[in-house]
């Protein structure tokens, strides 16, 4: 058993090595296919980063009547924070709100002057709420509008923002759907192209398969080296692909960062380098081995 396995692997490597051009061509096509897969993967990371970034910008603020005790607001905050559809709730006190307002308008002497003349803080305390999914804002807001809060609630800025929030939700979900569809179609193409290349490679060697069978080799003894070669093509293609992407990502990363705020492609690539390689490696080897297995079947029937 061990000797046979050893021989199968030896023949597999011989096969790769002595059919240099065929092997090089097969690996090249698989590099293209895996590049497509890796490219799609990175693209989905980018779009996801953009979506999360956009969703993070969406929030709703609930303002409280001046003079509402902080404990009361804090208890509402705690209630909201306990909800499963709420991502975060931040309390902004009247003083903080004023502080921020001043900071934002420090270039404008008129604002400072007006505030000076008013003498008191015109701003209200608020809770800044972010939902896990923007679609859930309506339900969250409804809970704030109940009778028990009517006396202290000044206003919720949800309705002004509602159209923007709805539009954004539909855009992000459209991006996700299109991305998924595109990935599915291109992945199928990548798989078919790899399979076809392996098919052609084995087709050119079909006579050898026949000879091996006539000399008394069992199906597994004939098939083994082709599967080993297929696995090797997958391994080689995955290494070449991940190596080629490094300079590409380094070069393109900064530009992409400009287009897609919140996405640092290079950092993502560096941090997940091994995982990304593992993904293309597994896909490459699976394509190589399954492709070879399917392609050789027909020629073993001698």
């Amino acid at each position: 058993m061990f000797t046979t396995a050893q021989r199968v692997i030896k023949h597999g490597f011989q096969h790769v090595w002595r059919n240099t051009w065929l092997s090089a061509a097969t690996i090249l096509v698989m590099v293209l296919a895996l590049s497509m897969v890796l490219g799609l993967l990175l693209l989905s990371v980018l779009t996801e980063a953009v979506i999360v970034n956009l969703e993070n910008k969406v929030d709703v603020s609930a303002y409280f009547v001046s003079g509402t005790p902080e404990e009361e607001i804090q208890s509402i905050r705690n209630e909201l924070a306990a909800r499963s559809d709420v991502r975060s709730v931040v309390y902004v006190s009247e003083n903080e709100a004023l502080e921020r307002f001043r900071e934002r308008h420090k270039e404008d002497p008129i604002v400072a002057q007006v505030l000076e003349e008013l003498g008191e803080n015109p701003l209200e305390a608020s809770l800044n709420i972010k939902a896990k999914d923007p679609e859930q804002f309506a339900a969250i807001v409804r809970s704030l509008e109940s009778e028990q809060y009517a006396s202290i609630m000044s206003k919720v800025n949800f309705y002004e923002n509602q159209s923007v929030i709805t539009a954004l939700t539909s855009v992000t979900s459209a991006i996700r759907k299109i991305g998924f569809f595109l990935s599915a179609v291109l992945s199928v193409i990548a798989v078919l192209v790899s399979f076809n290349t392996i098919h052609m490679a084995i087709y050119t060697l079909r006579e050898e398969v026949g000879i091996m069978k006539l000399v008394g080799a069992t199906n597994w003894f004939v098939r083994g080296p082709f599967l080993a070669a297929g696995a090797f093509y997958g391994l080689a293609a995955s290494v070449v692909t991940i190596a080629l992407f490094y300079p590409f990502v380094t070069l393109v990363g900064p530009y992409v960062g400009g287009f897609f705020p919140g996405a640092d492609l290079l950092a993502y690539y560096q941090v997940n380098f091994f995982l990304l390689w593992l993904i293309v490696f597994v896909i490459g080897v699976a394509l190589g081995v399954i492709g070879s297995f399917v392609a050789i079947r027909k020629y073993l029937k001698i």
């Binding site: 021989r7 002595r18 050898e208 000879i211 091996m212 006539l214 000399v215 008394g216 199906n219």
Partner: protein
């Protein structure tokens, strides 16, 4: 040792072999002759189960090979050494690797393979060309590698399908002498050919086929069609 019982083989409507019944004993040297298309190759293909008969049975050492399941064919083929007109060497393996392959298939030890391959290559006079690839060898040399491969696991039977069909006269006689030598060592030889000179020189048993039927079967036969 080999028995064909009323064997017919049809490809679609064309009948390649028609009710062939014959027996070949251990240690015989039998030539199968006939025009192209007479059914010689079909007969040999049936014997290594490369093709299955349409009707009839074929026995090898009391085993019905027409009933063998597909996964047992390799074991049948290891008992028979086959030589083809187009040599059928593995193009990406050297002469010695081609011969060794037949032994690796059976799972023999590495050391044993090395020794046997070298001695069999010496027998066919190619020990100097062990490391060459088929395309670096002449036709006659390639056929000798093929013979070495057929011989290396000491089969009881050697089947040669037009082994000299692609060779010049000099190489042709090299191959025939080699086959006679192997026969003298006790191996059964079945040789398909349409080379009149070879048949007449051998003066062994000759089975003549015509349009799929056995038309003549004579000891010390001659080539008559």
């Amino acid at each position: 040792m080999i028995k064909f019982n009323d064997v017919s083989k049809a490809y679609n409507s064309h009948c390649a072999l028609d009710s062939v019944t014959l027996a070949i004993g251990k240690g015989e040297f039998v030539s199968i002759v006939g025009q192209s298309g007479a059914g010689k190759s079909t007969l040999l293909k049936l014997l290594i189960a490369e093709e299955r008969p349409t009707t009839g049975t074929i026995f090898l050492n009391d085993e019905d090979i027409t009933a063998l399941p597909h996964n047992e064919l390799p074991f049948l083929r290891r008992k028979i050494g086959t030589i083809f007109q187009d040599f059928k060497l593995l193009p990406h393996k050297t002469a010695s690797e081609n011969v060794a392959f037949a032994m690796e298939v059976v799972g023999r030890e590495k050391k044993e393979i090395q020794e046997d391959v070298m001695s069999i290559l010496e027998l066919v006079g190619l020990e100097q060309k062990a490391k060459q690839f088929p395309h670096e060898l002449s036709g006659g040399e390639q056929q000798r590698v093929a013979i070495a491969r057929a011989l290396v696991h000491q089969p009881d039977i050697i089947i040669a399908d037009e082994p000299t069909g692609n060779l010049d006269p000099l190489s042709t006689w090299d191959i025939i002498r080699l086959l006679m030598k192997i026969h003298e060592l006790g191996t059964t030889i079945i040789l398909a050919t349409h080379d009149r000179e070879i048949i007449n020189t051998l003066s062994k048993r000759v089975i003549s086929l015509d349009r799929g039927k056995v038309v003549r079967d004579e000891q010390n036969g001659r080539y008559i069609l």
